[in-house]
Amino acid sequence: MNLLIPLMVIVPILCALFLNLLHKKDRTIKTIAIILALLLPALPLLANYGLHYFGGYAPLIENPTLSNNLPSLITGTALNTFHPAITYSFQSAQKIFVFILGLVGLLAIFTSLYETRRPSGVYGYMMFMGIAAVTAILLTDDIFNLYVFFEIAALATVGIVLVSNVKGNYETALKYMILGGIAAPLFLLGIALILGVTGNVNISDIIYSLQNGLVDPKNPVLLMACGLIVFGWLYGSGLPPFHTIKSAIYSKALPSGAALIQTFSVFIFIALGIIILRIFSYLPFSQWVILGASLLAMILGITMAIVQTDIKRMIGFLAVGELGYIGIGLGLGTAFGITAGLFQAVNEVIITAFLFIGFGTVLYQTRVSDTRKLGGMLQRNPLVAFLVLIAGFAMAGVPPLNAFQSKLMLIQASITAGFPELGVIMILLSIVTFMTFMKAFHAVFLRPKPVDLELKNEDIPKATIITLLVFLVVCIIIGLFPQVVTSYLQPLATSLAGGIV
């Protein structure tokens, strides 16, 4: 048993609790938070692949000494193979996802500590707690455990917004929670219906029951469960009709918080998307639901980004649009398409965080996020302007940056899967993304500085510049060597496409 697997969740929870205890001890928080955050990307790199059974309760089939003493009523049936404990599965795809989550988490925490004069232990608590919850969502093979961490991630998201002290943050947080108060119990109802039909909450066992005739897959209750889980998926990841509230949530957080919250959304999107594909792949419309929701997110997200005048709101809508690309890859259902979708997820997380923190420097200096009131920032910070420009190029899919590789793969996958129209839409929307970004870039950096624009902070913290440079290096490395990431994603994509789950 590999103990590092549960530690990937336990360590950030302990870090969160520890930082909360140190609230108001500014210097101590700064040092300890950085040291603890270094563990986030390190743990997945050190851990070996495998399964972790909480309490050590492996399926009976793996424990002959225990099963020998049990009646054949248990050992002679499917109960012999079922998982009695909450199971965490750590494979190559999880390794890259948890590593990227840890890396973005580390950089977001690092930036936040130097951008705020008095680092808040509560803010650190929320960030670590959210990272722990999303890590658990990525690792767990138990759908109820996923629901629990789904709720914790939502609470951490709200916490990050509440602590951010941005005007209107309380109103937006409450709106998000009210919508969550409807969506999350309905998601739980979906899980309850699955439990009612299959008697299980372990995803592998649910699939075993469906594939081996223990349960009738055509049971209409399962259709309803699928609908409710899809509803939870739309809320958790900010797909339409929740795209406006999600982008509002991004805009009411500090840039470092927004970078982290969008990472949560992307990983919740793929974790739930994978579960929908695994459990309901036998339903002919499941692929169409994913494709439809993704296409809508892509079109609505990117077109709504054009008209935004608030920088963070614009990036938020672009992030929603980029989710659509990931969903298209998953919805195509081919191994190549799913690999491309998952690869796009990794790239989107990095690029959107890059953009949030990059544009965040302007907010740090001016305390203004309205593009109509900004300008002339190129003269102030040519290096930051260059880095933000690269981030925008990366999001639009300009070679040789990372999203170019994933978007090219997505277009190739859509053509080979028999959906060339999707490829055309993706190219057109990439052009619109580029235009939207350039409009904002021009307004903030290239246009002459408005007379009434005052600088509240002269210098950008070195930590922020270091963070942006790290993102730049990651974008270039993945862009030049995409196989560094895709090789980790291919086994999962192949098993999902082949129905071997």
Partner: protein, 120 residues
Amino acid sequence: MVIDVQITSLFTAVALIIIGIFAAAFLDNLIKKIIGLAFIGDGVNLFLIAMGYKPGGIVYIYLPGMAAEWFSQNAAYPLPFAMVLTSIVIGASTMAVMLGIIIVLYKKRGSLSAKEILGE
């Protein structure tokens, strides 16, 4: 006339969920909205409990002297109850955060109207 406890509970759960969604979506007072959300959560919890109900069943605790086969046939399935316990805890924490936010907003705005505060 004998009323089936399980069916009645399931119908009550559905009614609670529908009333809750109506309250959360259409009522203007924020506290009433939150009560509606509590109804939805309670409805789902009742649904889970009703699913785990076994007529004449016993608690899932294996006591000395019980025959294994008799126990496996008569004990109620404990998983839904464990899930409900967790769900109640999550619901309570979410509710606490929402009420906390409402207190802050009420102090700032002096109103509990969703139309006024959230612009709905």
